[in-house]
């Protein structure tokens, strides 16, 4: 991908935006007690309590690291793929827990940016958009890397013939 081309700008904007979202999400969780996030995870009743506590300890730091790596633009394929996998897990859990007409019984908190934000059509749309962005970024990152490899192969093929013969002898 040509630097400063429209596609390059789009990809840069996408990864910086996604990275910023991850950093902010990590911040909202790290500034409060990890137990609040643990309670939010436990409310989904998908994993045992001890696992919810472990995830509450680890996930914010993982989000922070991913966010920084995305913003920096390093290891982009790995970072984008990890972000996509993480968002896919979150989105699936949210869709599973979403109960639009629920009044009786507690509405489960999204837990995306701390507690207190119930899962709603708005949060699903937001997280769905982030997932789509992350997926697009992942595809672009792999595609860009693939395009670089044939170019590198072409460079090697067009190297001077003498040097090759000298190597053989």
């Amino acid at each position: 991908m040509k630097r400063f081309s429209p596609a390059w700008w789009l990809m840069t904007a996408g990864r910086v935006l996604l990275g910023a979202v991850f950093v902010y999400a990590a911040y909202t969780k790290l500034r409060a007690s990890y137990l609040l996030f643990a309670m939010a995870i436990d409310a989904y009743k998908l994993i045992p309590e001890w696992a919810a506590v472990a995830v509450a300890h680890v996930l914010p730091w993982l989000e922070l690291a991913l966010g920084i790596v995305l913003i920096a633009g390093i290891w982009l394929r790995f970072a984008a793929a990890s972000a996509t996998a993480l968002l896919a897990v979150f989105f699936t859990a949210m869709v599973h827990a979403y109960q639009p007409e629920l009044k009786e019984g507690t509405q489960i908190s999204c837990g995306c940016f701390g507690l207190g934000e119930p899962i709603s059509g708005r949060t699903l749309l937001r997280d769905g958009a982030l997932l789509a962005l992350s997926l697009a970024l992942t595809i672009a990152a792999f595609w860009t890397a693939r395009r670089k490899r044939p170019a590198a192969a072409a460079d090697a093929a067009s190297a001077p013939v003498g040097s090759t013969l000298a190597e053989k002898s």
Binding site: S33, L35, D42, E49, E104
Partner: protein
Amino acid sequence: MRQLHKQLWIILALGLAACAPLCWAAVNRQSAAHAKTAAAAEEAAPDKTLGSRNAPIVMEVFSDYSCPMCKAFYIGAIRRMMDSYIPEGKVYLIHRDFPLKGVLGHEHSRDAARYANAAACIGKFREVDAALYSRQEVWTHDGSVDATVAAVLSPAEMKHVRALVASGKMDAYIDNDSALGSSKGVRSTPTIYVTAHGQTNSLPGNLSYSLLRRYLDEQLQN
């Protein structure tokens, strides 16, 4: 002249003596009025709280007496806190009524809230609160809120509660609680807010007590 002075003093003394009962009656009337005002003030502010107001942690719970999850939270968390955090002055619990409208199985929610508020006016909130949750499956089905409450109150107390419910005054308190909840974004029950160190956080209603206990202990340690 001396005799005139003497007569004047006698008249004055008689006059004061005559005024004394009138003053006494006036004072009594004022006390009665104060007592009435105090009683009215007491009735005007049902105390639906548990624990010390000076507790470092405040837990505000918006609930509907017909809501099974509210009952589960009451049994799983509140009742346990009544044995520990609340009497130890660590948690101040505030109950707020948020009877859900138009939900199947919640037809008697408002009635239950009226009785709970009336009981709170006479200092019997804890007993009626417990009774309503423990027999939830019965009165939500047949509407026997009055009988449920009567089972835990004396005849005199029940008479007072019925009078308060019949007066229609309890609806204002319920509406106040509901309006407060709506302003805070409450849309379902139970909705729980915990305030500690000047920060308020919302907790999920289906939380596990062990996690809640860990959180409360952490806040108390800080």
